[in-house]
Symmetry: C2
């Protein structure tokens, strides 16, 4: 079977990494520098991400200072921070030259206040003003991700006038698919896709061919909302306006793609108790400290479960087989409940779940729990009867399993929707809370039934 | 605090859904139809996704047949299939009119072979040929997601000639940011961003201003690879060529955004044992059947853990406190190991982890496991000594915890990388395999040490 391109690219990165590591060990810095010169900034960024911390800093020293801004922009937060703290303000200022305003602002935000002031002081006046304006908007807002390099036109001119203006201007900003039509006060009154300039006769008036503005993106809109608008409307770029409908910038799809990717990764990483910016190759101590918090929360969950078992010490004392089997019911409940939690977290994230259908979903997931509870309680009950030769024990584990899977279905819907209601991230807290519930209910049901009927 | 737009949109959907549900119950179909007429297809799709199965089909009947193609295209697989099985071939053929070729092919693939043949027969000849060609490529390949509506030009003409040609042609296909330059044999020799037509003088030769083609996308390239190329290179559209470098179509960012979103969701859903196309509002029986498989696998895992405990039945018989505490060590190992698994799955997906750095990562995660093992074993040991007043038991649980977190770090790297090597999806199988390992090792260590030192 042919290898896919992704594998090829990944293999290429890892071949290069092996080569680079060898060359660095042999002190052949000039050859590494030459290798890096032939690579695209985004491929160098990939190489840096895949590189353990020690080699990463040496590699960085060998990159072309002119590319450094673009490379930094492609790196994930943690990796970028690790590199930037070692750069002098003038180096940082030099790296930002030729970068887009929103990307420079993004870099500066990860620096300590005083360092970013020093970097701003090193920049030329025009760039500084632009970047300072971008910094005045919150990081995760439309203002924080927009560019200010928009081309504006008036509506009382003809296609020919615009064409001559553009020819005089030369080169359009990257990803320009639309020109924006403004009134004399700078208010946005229309969009003109550049394709309209190509297919219409030179003497056509702009007013006749411009489109009415789409839903406007306000400069304060949350960046996740910007991303879902782009995704729904299939936009390539969109104008950003202030509260008086003045055009202040535009957002392009390349920045939106990064947000979509990050939002989607966030759920997965949070569910495992990780920060989504966590650097795969961070030093062990740093990783250990970060992950320790999550383990600490789980200690409380595990001790809660243990104290439930502790209530039944007498029962456990009488029959060791109960202790042997007592982990099965909580385990099944945890798995079933987490299926529901994952489904609900995705539904909440994309906005499919709300007040109008939570009750329906609750009933549905409870039914799913009952169906699977029935199926698996019979199977597990049968296995236990055959294994332990004890029919009572089989009935008890069956009963506990049904209870726990039913509860798992309800808790799987209720926990994330309640967390969301109180503005707690369901992806972060949902799984752990669910597991605690299914552990406690599973143990209570199994050990409780055993205490009632066996001892 | 102001509500975010996403919440507003979501609230809007749920307000509408409540309103629609009420109107449907009152039999006021005409008012619902009028409501739907005022909505964008993508918003109707959102409403359908958020609607339980019964209302969904009634709603669908009330949508404008002209919008149905576009609405279907915005729906997720499961929801779409549920609707399409109830449509007649001629209705389906009518819905596909005005849709892009790749989207029609995508729809037809989800139909049974004979139905899709009937739909094709109902389409007009030109559309049929195009769609049949798109269907000849594998679904998850560049050929499967490309459009054939490309505008091609020759390199021996001037800007003015191209402008006149485009004016004569009128309207460009959606998301056209580049024209493709081909030689007389249809081979791709260059790209011409349409902005170049705007900023260059009319008498400029195309050959002088066209760009050399970027890395070509082959028609057989995997769609995930296409997405990562788009993401890295910040493309808006890209040409697709066959093995002889003939231009056969183009791929646009809107289709790529869907793939990026699906790929990222896939990891999260798979880790919870769900199909990523699972419909949140599917009927309970259908959901139960699908999820049952995963529960069945977990039964095996839970029985494996129980049979480990079973080996120590004698020990459990002697001291019930051991049974009470025996779930703590497996639980902590599972959580710690799954943090590593999630990190490695993401690293493998984006290509940061490969042969060159797996060993480094293994050493790092083992170290993280040791550090956190040390920290939490002391804390848990202390808690157990205070709780149970038994120093031996405290030491035993500490020792078992250290062993299990160390193993969890190693298994967390080893399991997903090995699964990937044998072409098994690490997101699907990784978490369950890891939990089985940490359960078995945790129980072996704790009960084994208890058997050696206490009884």
């Amino acid at each position: 079977m042919a290898e896919t391109l992704e594998q090829e690219q990944s293999n290429l990165t890892h071949q290069r990494l092996q080569e680079v590591t060898q060359l660095l060990e042999q002190g052949m810095f000039v050859r590494v520098r030459r290798m890096l010169e032939d690579m695209e900034p985004e491929d160098i960024a990939h190489l840096l991400e895949a590189s353990p911390p020690k080699g990463r800093l040496v590699l960085w020293q060998l990159t072309d200072p002119e590319d450094q801004g673009e490379i930094l922009d492609e790196l994930s937060e943690d990796v970028k921070d690790g590199i930037m703290v070692r750069m002098a303000p003038d180096q940082l200022a030099a790296a930002t030259e030729g970068m887009e305003t929103d990307d420079v602002a993004y870099l500066l935000r990860s620096l300590p206040q005083d360092v970013s002031q020093d970097v701003l002081a090193e920049m030329d006046a025009q760039d500084r003003t632009r970047v300072q304006q971008a910094l005045s908007y919150p990081e995760e807002s439309a203002g924080g991700i927009m560019n200010t390099d928009v081309i504006t036109i008036r509506d009382d001119v003809t296609v020919d006038v615009v064409l001559r203006y553009l020819r005089m201007r030369g080169e359009l900003p990257d990803t320009t698919d639309t020109l924006y039509v403004i009134d004399p006060n700078g208010r946005l009154i229309g969009n003109l896709p550049i394709s309209a300039l190509l297919v219409n006769q030179p003497d056509t008036d702009i007013a006749d061919i411009m489109d009415a503005p789409d839903e406007a993106i306000s400069v304060t809109m949350d960046d996740g909302d910007v991303a879902s608008l782009f995704e729904r409307r299939n936009w390539v770029s969109a104008p950003v306006v202030d509260e008086h409908n003045h055009l202040v910038g535009r957002i392009t799809i390349d920045d939106v793609v990064d947000i979509i990717r990050e939002d989607a990764e966030h759920s997965m990483m949070s569910m495992a108790g990780l920060d989504d910016e966590e650097d795969t190759f961070a030093p062990a101590f740093k990783s250990a400290r970060r992950r320790s918090i999550w383990l600490g929360i789980n200690v409380l969950a595990a001790l809660t479960a243990a104290s439930v078992s502790n209530m039944f010490e007498g029962t456990l004392d009488k029959m060791a087989a109960i202790a042997v089997l007592m982990t099965i019911v909580p385990s099944m409940g945890g798995v079933a409940g987490n299926q529901t939690v994952a489904l609900v977290i995705r539904g909440l994230a994309v906005g499919h779940i709300g007040d109008s259908n939570t009750r329906w979903l609750l009933a549905k997931e409870a039914t799913v729990g009952m169906i699977n509870g029935l199926v698996w309680s019979m199977i597990i009950g049968g296995v236990v009867v055959l294994w332990k030769g004890n029919i009572e024990l089989g009935l008890i584990i069956s009963g506990a399993m049904m209870v726990n899977l039913f509860v798992a279905g309800i808790a799987g819907v209720a926990i994330p929707t309640l967390l969301k209601k109180y503005n707690i991230d369901p992806a972060l807290a949902g799984g752990m809370a669910l597991t605690t519930v299914t552990d406690v209910v599973g143990l209570l049901a199994f050990l409780g039934l055993a205490t009632l009927f066996i001892t």
